[in-house]
Symmetry: C2
Subunit: 228 residues, 2 copies
Amino acid sequence: MIGLTASGGSVSVGFMNRTELGSALEWRYATKKFDPAKVISPEDWSVLEESLRLSPSSYGLQPWRFHVVQNSQIRQQLKVASWNQSQVTDASHYVVIAYQESVGEADIRKFMETTAMIRGVDVGSLERYRMLIEGDLLTGMRSKEISTWSQRQTYIAMGFVMLAAALLKIDSCPMEGIEADEYDRILGLKGTGFKTVAGVALGYRHAEDKYALSKKVRYPASEIIRYL
Amino acid sequence: MIGLTASGGSVSVGFMNRTELGSALEWRYATKKFDPAKVISPEDWSVLEESLRLSPSSYGLQPWRFHVVQNSQIRQQLKVASWNQSQVTDASHYVVIAYQESVGEADIRKFMETTAMIRGVDVGSLERYRMLIEGDLLTGMRSKEISTWSQRQTYIAMGFVMLAAALLKIDSCPMEGIEADEYDRILGLKGTGFKTVAGVALGYRHAEDKYALSKKVRYPASEIIRYL
């Protein structure tokens, strides 16, 4: 199927129609109470896992790790380190997002080798790209804010998994109010070069979650979107 | 339509099927060369605008502004401040994402008033929530990293708009390699409390963009996703 753009160029029809997409955006909310009896199917979960893995990141470097916590004892410990918010233990899946604290030459080299292997090219042909990245992240302006840069990238993935979930009518709740340092201890992240930045609870809303009925609070487009 | 979860709970069918979602995730790539003749339709654009506006953020505070640059002279100036990357001028829409540098009492109060208005409740009933947010962002641990916190939130919106675009078969390219300070000057952001963090080019890939055919480079799930 083919559509027409304003300028007359032809554009193929999307993977979904825009009305359904708009509905999914409206449907999503930060779920406070999950139904512990409802579990994300393995088929749905594998797409959510892919939404994390295929998220874009600066230079494609993927400075992240995702921890899917299934062990109920670990979940209980994380709940205590999350002001006892019930989402940590009640949601079907609980993902802890960690960012890479610093990026070094070895990380960039590994990424280049992976690129060369996947694309079937000689790693030497990527030399200019490698130097460009090093010049930015290791010696350039960005080297002073790698931790912030890295944290930002993980939030693209957070956005991807939450929107992907909503499209499958799977509820989510981003969890930022957590004791990240305590999470690191519980998950054994100390000394790995990765640190907890946030969690995402995924599953199905409880019938009693009153927030499901609350109107979404957003500033009007006129206030946050400027055309110029 | 109703499906069954592993645990026997019933779950309604999603806004789209998971195969299509998986295809959209694979289809998306960082578009290097846009077709300047192809324009996003107003109907599609309004959904993309909503994907930005309805993005989740910590406490719902929306510490962001989105600048949609349509003026070709301004686009040209931004291109110069973006290492002359062609996406800035060739893409149908170019969005500059700005984060709020610091959050103050007035911002939180305004958010509470907006919440009270939209939900039809007395603002006094939100007092505990207001104090919770203030205790975290203004006086608590997070007050020391508000700029980083705020930047992170904007990347959720970046993730939302890029995935929303892909679902409509609209291409995108995240633009981090830009001179943010120069962007601020060009867009008149100095002194507004908002600072440029990144851009997102949105539109349609050029038939000659060779990157459209490149294999996506991602680490295997076994390396970045840990189950425990």
